[in-house]
């Protein structure tokens, strides 16, 4: 088990290097540091000196991947790629192009993101599993048929509709909750209700339908027939036997996205004015602040890899058949 985790951690290194190469290719080959400097300094007639200063200040003065002026190993070390990505590996994100401390921003902004994402995930999971179990219980009846139709309709509606419609009905017509904003502490809950609710409703169609398929697949297995042959009631069959088996794919599917909850949701956060990492990222995209985007890409990649690892580990926890070697 330990050996497995260590091996996976080692395997993460080449992947993260790959991720860095991709982002660097995207950011620096199409858009050179000179262009960035010009854009940031904003004026049409920027002097060469100003550009050089800007670059040096932010560490963009070296060549990209290979420094022909330096000696030996230094020709790889004195490059933007090396200096910038080495720092990322120790989670030192440095300063954004507009001069803010990215690590500090992240540590501040991940809490609002979590405050939305975690309840949204948990409530969504609970509701979807409950519905799916009910549908599975009434399988091959009209209830099943229409429930599936409703699921398809719900998942065909754009998430933008849920947000705009939800804000309009709940916030503007009924005036039960504030439309947007955020406040930490216990009074902040009123700000969370709407985004969480909308997130849950928006995801309910596809996840209910997916879980229903898992339940039905499980109910066709031989062991269910064995349980029925024992004279066990259908509800017990569902809850004690089918649910436990069906939770394996459901939970492991959830585990992989758990770490990514930190990143928040771009759309929800910007619609509801929540100062989380999602809106942070959007702002950075709109301001073209590459240092932040790069840091978020790296962070996302790390979290994804952790998610994969957690998935494997969670298998060994919930499924007695799986052993990591």
């Amino acid at each position: 088990m330990i050996a497995y985790i260590v091996r996976r951690a080692l395997y993460a290194i080449p992947i993260l290097i790959g991720v860095n190469i991709i982002t660097f290719l995207l950011f620096f080959v199409v858009n050179t540091p000179d262009d960035m400097a010009r854009m940031f300094l904003g004026q049409k007639h920027v002097t060469e000196v100003q550009i050089e200063d800007w670059k040096t200040e932010r560490g963009y003065h070296n060549p990209l991947f290979y420094n022909a002026d330096a000696e030996g190993l230094d020709s790889f070390k004195e490059t933007i790629f090396y200096t910038k990505s080495l720092r990322l590996f120790v989670f030192d994100f440095g300063r954004s192009d507009s001069g803010r401390d990215i690590s500090f921003d992240i540590s501040q902004r991940m809490w609002p993101s979590l405050a939305i994402a975690v309840p949204q995930l948990l409530i969504g999971l609970l509701v979807a599993i409950t519905f799916a179990l009910l549908i599975a219980f009434f399988r091959a009846t009209y209830i099943d048929y229409w429930a599936v139709v409703i699921c398809v309709v719900l998942m065909s509606i754009s998430s933008l509709f849920y947000i705009i419609g939800g804000q309009f009905v709940m916030g503007k017509l009924l005036r039960v909750v504030p439309i947007s904003g955020f406040e930490s502490g216990i009074f902040g809950i009123k700000f969370l209700i709407l985004p969480v609710l909308i997130g849950v409703v928006g995801g309910i169609g596809s996840s209910t339908r997916w879980y229903r398929t898992i339940f039905l697949e499980e109910m066709n297995k031989d062991y269910v027939r064995t349980v029925r042959a024992k004279g066990i009631a259908e509800q017990t069959v569902l809850f004690r036997h089918v649910l436990r088996n069906a939770l394996i794919p459901i939970l492991t599917g959830v585990v992989v996205i758990l770490p990514l909850l930190f990143m928040g949701s771009l759309i929800t956060e910007s619609f509801f004015g929540i100062p989380g990492l999602g809106s942070y990222t959007i702002d950075a995209i709109n301001r073209q602040d590459f240092a932040i985007v790069r840091s978020m890409v790296f962070l996302g990649a790390v979290l994804y890899i952790i998610g994969l690892l957690l998935t494997d580990i969670s298998y060994t926890v919930v499924d007695p058949r799986v052993r990591l070697g």
Binding site: R7, V227, D319, P320
Partner: protein, 554 residues
């Protein structure tokens, strides 16, 4: 005379799909008395399992009970509401299924799966139920009940799982046990133990058994009363003694005739394939004998941080054998003994770790690609599963032609087509089969196509990897007759991989017995089967239920 326990009258069960209705069980009537073992025999699709599932009312959703009545201890089961039927399931009537591998819940401990039924029907406390479960595990002869009760199903072998299934079924001392092919998925030595166990427990608990099987030898061993099913109808019912000495129905006779046995050696199994004698192959030299020397196939076990190889699974561990021209060498063994791996590594479908295979003076594992292509024509293979061995997207003609084309046996397209037609005729299929797809054929017909495909490149040796074990006995008989016929005509040798001793007795010239990757004994069939030397061979042979088919008076 004991009382009637179960009475089934004019039972009819249908499967309905949007397009058609299929009558799986058609007006079946029978009675089971208390303490009696009633065997329902038939080939696949005869409706015997559906009959059993109808009795316990656990039919799949597509199936409907159309008419008839089922009385259990005087109560009409079909009239009972589902709630009362559940009270009967597991306590009055219980059932064990064919596949022990999938019939237990994989994520619930086996102890829990036993106590569940006790707590349901006998209102025991969890503690009492656990005590009782330990007793039951002991009763089904599981070595360490106190350990096994806290394991999961995957930690147990197939035989052990089936014992757990039996423990669950017997937990509430049912009056009727339905056993649906309970030993079919098990190796023959395990089968003997499980049958023994069921027999002992029946005496102990005094229950009746509805025993469903396709294996006449097993029926002979366990049943008091026999019913033969064919296409949803019971064609014959009689006592064990009558059935196995003088069966009434022609279909029963056909079943007996199709059984391979030592006594039938040299004669075709089915009348219509009658040839007066099998000619022996001529003019072959020693060079044409395939020699396998010390063949070994190891699979590495990797562990630790850098996945270093820390050991090997020795699937095949030093196997030597010979396949002389025109002869059939049987390779027998139970599942996991490595017999299929031997077959595939001879063909280089699996690269052997050690040892050599020599044919016509060439070492097959060392020759280069062009020489290997030449040898590929000499050595061919027929697989076990007739469903996965043909590409579903290709026409039968293309499938047979593939080898001819790849090995450049016949270059001219028209000549190739003629050859395909000729091959289809040889394996007893219509010529127009070449323009159809594999899914349009039955299992037996598919296996014929596979034989035609192998024959297409004029091989000297065909490796037959359990070619009949997925087939019914009557179809098996056709395939064995066909293989015999082809051997007589073309002098082909077979390496016949099987676990079925009666097929070996009927079909093979030599036999090699494999056990845990090694050959423990080999020799002429009469000698090995008649006078086994090795402990394992003896055990294997004594486990096989024997059956001397009745002789029909002229």
């Amino acid at each position: 005379m004991s009382r009637t326990l179960l009475q089934v009258r004019q039972l009819t069960t249908e499967f309905r799909s949007s397009r058609r209705t299929l009558t799986a069980v058609n007006g079946v009537s029978f009675e089971i008395r208390e303490g009696q073992t009633f065997a329902l025999v038939g080939e696949s699709g005869s409706g015997k399992s559906v009959t059993a599932l109808s009795v316990i009312r656990l039919l799949p959703e597509a199936a409907r009970l159309v008419s008839g009545s089922i009385h259990f201890e005087g109560r009409d089961l079909l009239a009972l509401p589902e709630r009362e039927m559940r009270d009967i399931r597991g306590s009055g009537i219980s059932m064990i299924f064919q596949e022990p591998m999938t019939s237990l819940n994989p994520v619930v401990k086996v102890g829990r799966q036993i106590t569940e039924v006790l707590m349901r029907h006998q209102s025991m406390s969890a503690k009492q139920a656990r005590e009782r479960a330990l007793d039951l595990l002991d009763a089904v002869r599981i070595p360490q009940p106190s350990y096994t009760i806290d394991t999961y199903a995957h930690e147990l072998s197939g035989g052990m799982k089936q014992r757990v299934m039996i423990a669950i079924a017997l937990a509430c001392k049912p009056r009727l046990l339905i056993a649906d092919e309970p030993t079919t998925a098990l190796d023959v030595t395990i089968q003997a133990q499980v049958l023994d166990l069921i027999n002992d427990l029946q005496e102990q608990f005094g229950m009746a058994i509805l025993f469903i099987t396709h294996d006449l030898a097993v029926v002979k061993q366990v049943a008091d009363h026999v019913a033969v099913m064919k296409e949803g109808v019971i064609v014959e019912q009689s006592s064990n003694e009558v059935f196995f000495s003088a069966p009434q129905h022609d279909y029963s006779w056909d079943l007996f005739a199709a059984l391979p046995a030592m006594e039938k050696r040299g004669k075709p199994l089915l009348e219509r394939n009658h040839v007066s004698h099998w000619p022996t192959a001529a003019n072959a030299t020693q060079n044409d004998t395939l020699q396998v020397r010390d063949l070994a196939v190891y699979f590495p076990i990797r562990k630790g941080l850098f996945k270093r190889t820390v050991g090997h699974v020795k699937a095949v561990d030093g196997v030597s054998l010979e396949i002389p021209p025109g002869k059939t060498v049987a390779l027998v063994g139970e599942s996991g003994s490595g017999k299929t791996t031997v077959g595939k590594s001879i063909l280089r479908l699996i690269q052997p770790t050690l040892g050599e295979v020599t044919y016509q003076g060439m070492r097959l594992h060392e020759i280069d690609r062009s020489q290997l292509l030449e040898q590929r024509a000499n050595l061919q293979i027929v697989f076990q599963d007739p469903y996965s061995s043909m590409n579903p997207r290709m026409l039968v003609g293309q499938i047979i032609e593939e080898g001819i084309k790849a090995l450049n046996v016949i270059v001219d397209a028209e000549a190739r087509r003629q050859r395909v037609l000729e091959l289809l005729e040889q394996v007893g299929l219509d010529k127009d089969a070449h323009l159809r797809y594999p899914h349009e054929f039955s299992g037996g017909q598919r296996q014929r196509i596979c034989i035609a495909r192998a024959l297409a490149v004029n091989p000297k040796i065909i490796i037959c990897d359990e070619p009949t074990s997925a087939l019914d006995v009557s179809v098996q008989a056709q395939i064995l007759d066909l293989l015999n016929h082809l051997q007589a005509r073309y002098g082909i040798s077979y390496l016949f991989i099987t676990h079925n001793m009666s097929v070996v007795a009927y079909f093979a010239d030599r036999v090699a017995v494999m056990y845990q990757g090694r050959i423990v004994e080999q020799g002429e069939v009469e000698q090995v089967l008649g006078n086994p030397q090795h402990e394992y061979t003896k055990r294997l042979l004594s486990a096989v239920p024997t059956l001397v088919p009745p002789v029909r008076a002229a």
